[in-house]
């Protein structure tokens, strides 16, 4: 029997109490697994991860009040040592990609045998990744596509001056002329000119389109680092 300190500590988040109870019973039948917290929605899951610092979080994808993908992102941000496994109703490539991009280490469907769930908890705790084998090729293909799109977007962003990239970053965060001018200590007219230049250089037609360009290609953090 593993002593309390060597057990893998698990957070279990799912909307359905019956599912949680059943999974908890199975997990705790293992000598080296312990459920230290439960949550029935996404915000509770994030809060429980911060409070209990579990080793592994098993998170339902369709949690109310902050879905499982968003909760995964927040858990990875606020409890970075916690490894997350996303549980979905069925295999969905979009959810798998979103889960991986949010920082999940594992992905299982609720149709999986319980033995796979137990194995997944151990596997991600060892620092490895769990993805259904039949989805692996498609996932890698989409990660490659994402990377190509991001590289292409960064090449477009490299046409902008440093100041214009700062303006674009602020635009993507929802800034208007006034707030951008204030943040960069320039006049609103100058901010407006920079914005017009950004739109023209990126070949987009609106501020919304420019913001979407940044968000969809996930280049916000890279913008200030891009050299001309």
């Amino acid at each position: 029997m593993a002593d309390e300190h060597s057990k893998v500590r698990i957070l279990l988040a799912d909307e359905q109490p019956l599912f949680r109870d059943a999974v908890k019973l199975v997990l705790e039948s293992q000598p080296d697994l312990k459920v230290v917290a439960e949550a029935q929605d996404g915000l509770q899951a994030v809060s429980a991860a911060e409070q209990h610092s579990p080793d592994v979080a098993l998170i339902g994808a369709n949690l109310p009040n902050c879905d499982g993908i968003r909760a995964t992102y927040l858990i990875r941000e606020r409890a970075p040592t916690c490894r997350v496994v996303i549980l979905t109703e069925e295999e969905e490539e979009d959810t798998l990609l979103a889960a991986v991009e949010a920082g999940a280490s594992g992905y299982l469907t609720k149709e999986s045998p319980l033995a796979e769930l137990i194995a997944a908890a151990h596997t991600v705790h060892r620092g490895e990744t769990v993805v259904p084998s039949r989805m692996l090729g498609g996932l890698l293909g989409r990660l490659i596509l994402r990377r190509r799109e991001k590289e292409q977007a960064l090449r477009r962003a490299a046409r902008l001056s440093r100041r214009e990239r700062e303006v674009l970053a602020l635009l993507a965060e929802g800034g208007d002329n006034g707030s951008i001018a204030q943040a960069l200590v320039i006049s609103p007219e100058t901010a407006r000119t920079h914005i017009q230049n950004v739109l023209a250089k990126l070949g987009v037609h609106s501020r919304l389109e420019a913001a979407a360009f940044v968000v969809q290609n996930q280049i916000l953090d890279d913008l200030v680092g891009v050299d001309r």
Binding site: V100, G127, V131, L139, L140, L143, I144, R147
Partner: protein, 94 residues
Amino acid sequence: MSISLKEGCPSRRADVWLRQAGEENALYDPRTGSLHLLNHTAFAIWDLCDGQTRPEEMIEAICQLSGHHRDVVAEDVERILGGFDKENLLDWMS
């Protein structure tokens, strides 16, 4: 271990059949009549051999997903592609 791969993007030879039965995957080469069993990683890499994806991109994606060290992943990918190549299952696109 060092394996040198050809330049360009590997492409599955059009006449090679992929046979799937449950969790098992195998390639059948009608030219030689040979059958090649694939593990999960080899199957995923076979899937990526579309003539447009560079081995380097495969390595980067697997690193991103697994968090493994690049050298380890590169060795695996090169060994698997080298194995396909040795069996003449690939064409290489420039």
